[in-house]
């Protein structure tokens, strides 16, 4: 653990929060094995701007919607396919809301280290899932969904909502939280029916 990653005497609490939380946000699309090997995602990332937060939110939704498309075409279990369709519908709906708000606020979502790493992690997870099939795919997809939604919730609570400056953006982020909670609970329910092998 390098002193650069975890400075002993931080100057700004916000920066420390970003350093501690952002890596988990950025790595949330990776498989556990990949995540352990991943470099700290956004070391040096300063507090996020609203434009960056908007980009992270849109990216996170787009990733899960796209993963839903993959699962819809590959899943064996009807429950998993239904869940995948719900992810496509819900994350698409949330993104439409986010884009409408960004347009109204004249806020151009700005790519940043976190959203870029989110996308890289998703690409990696997608490649891994693409090679799985049948029941093994169902288990891997649902396990990732459990992990992903938990990580997004953590990110919302610890990073995105606290850092959002615009009141409407903050409200939007808070209003989508129940969706992630419901998705997480449903993914856990399905996971409990799929078994371990």
């Amino acid at each position: 653990m390098s002193p650069t990653m975890f400075p002993r005497r931080p100057r700004r609490p916000t920066l420390v929060l970003a350093l501690l939380v952002v890596p988990s946000v950025a790595a949330l699309a990776c498989k556990p094995r990949e995540r352990a090997a991943a470099p700290p995602a956004a070391a040096g990332q300063t507090a996020l701007s609203d434009a960056q937060i908007a980009h992270i939110a849109v990216t996170a939704n787009s990733i899960d919607s796209a993963m839903g498309e993959l699962a819809k075409s590959k899943a064996r279990s009807a429950a998993v396919r239904d869940f995948a369709q719900t992810m496509i519908t819900d994350h698409g709906g949330v993104n439409r809301q986010a884009v409408q708000l960004a347009t109204r606020l004249n806020l151009t979502p700005e790519a940043n280290d976190v959203s870029r790493q989110l996308q890289r992690g998703a690409d990696s997870a997608r490649a891994s899932l693409s090679s799985a099939s049948g029941a093994a795919f169902d288990r891997a997809y649902i396990a990732r969904e459990v992990e992903y939604h938990q990580a997004v919730l953590d990110a919302l609570d610890k990073t995105l909502v606290p850092n959002a400056k615009n009141a409407e953006l903050k409200t939007l982020l808070q209003s989508v939280r129940p969706a992630f909670v419901a998705h997480l609970e449903r993914a856990k329910q399905i996971q409990s029916t799929l078994g371990n092998r």
Binding site: T86, T89, D90, G93, V94, R96, Q97, S175, V176, P178, A179, V181, A182, H183, E185, R186, Q189
Partner: protein
């Protein structure tokens, strides 16, 4: 005078009939907001109307467990109404998000 008497009699009969049947049918609203039904438990009487309004950005359903009634997909900001019969009570849920649950209690007036 005969006409007035008849009108008064009709009014009395109507009031009496209304009293005999209990209060008039009512309309109730359940808002779907933040992936929850509000109120989650609602007590109604046969003949009442229940209106579910989806205030979330994503579609939901109000679907009775075990069958009987089903709103099917309710788009954002749309509503669905049910005129309640005595057999319509019981738990219901959202088929898209089964962790969302509500209960309709039907009691005769």
């Amino acid at each position: 005078m005969t006409t007035r008497r008849a009108a008064a009699l009709a009014a009395v009969v109507l009031v009496g009939a209304s009293a005999a049947c209990g209060r008039a049918a009512r309309s109730h609203t359940i808002e779907i907001r933040g992936f929850a039904y509000d109120p989650a438990r609602l007590e109604v009487a046969p003949g009442d109307t229940v209106v579910w309004i989806n205030r979330d950005a994503v579609p939901h359903t109000a679907t009775r467990e075990g069958g009987g009634w089903d709103s099917r997909s309710l788009a954002s900001q749309s509503e669905w109404r049910l005129v309640v019969t005595r057999d319509d009570g019981g738990p219901y849920f959202c088929t898209f998000h089964p962790t969302m649950r509500g209960t309709l209690v039907v009691r005769a007036r």
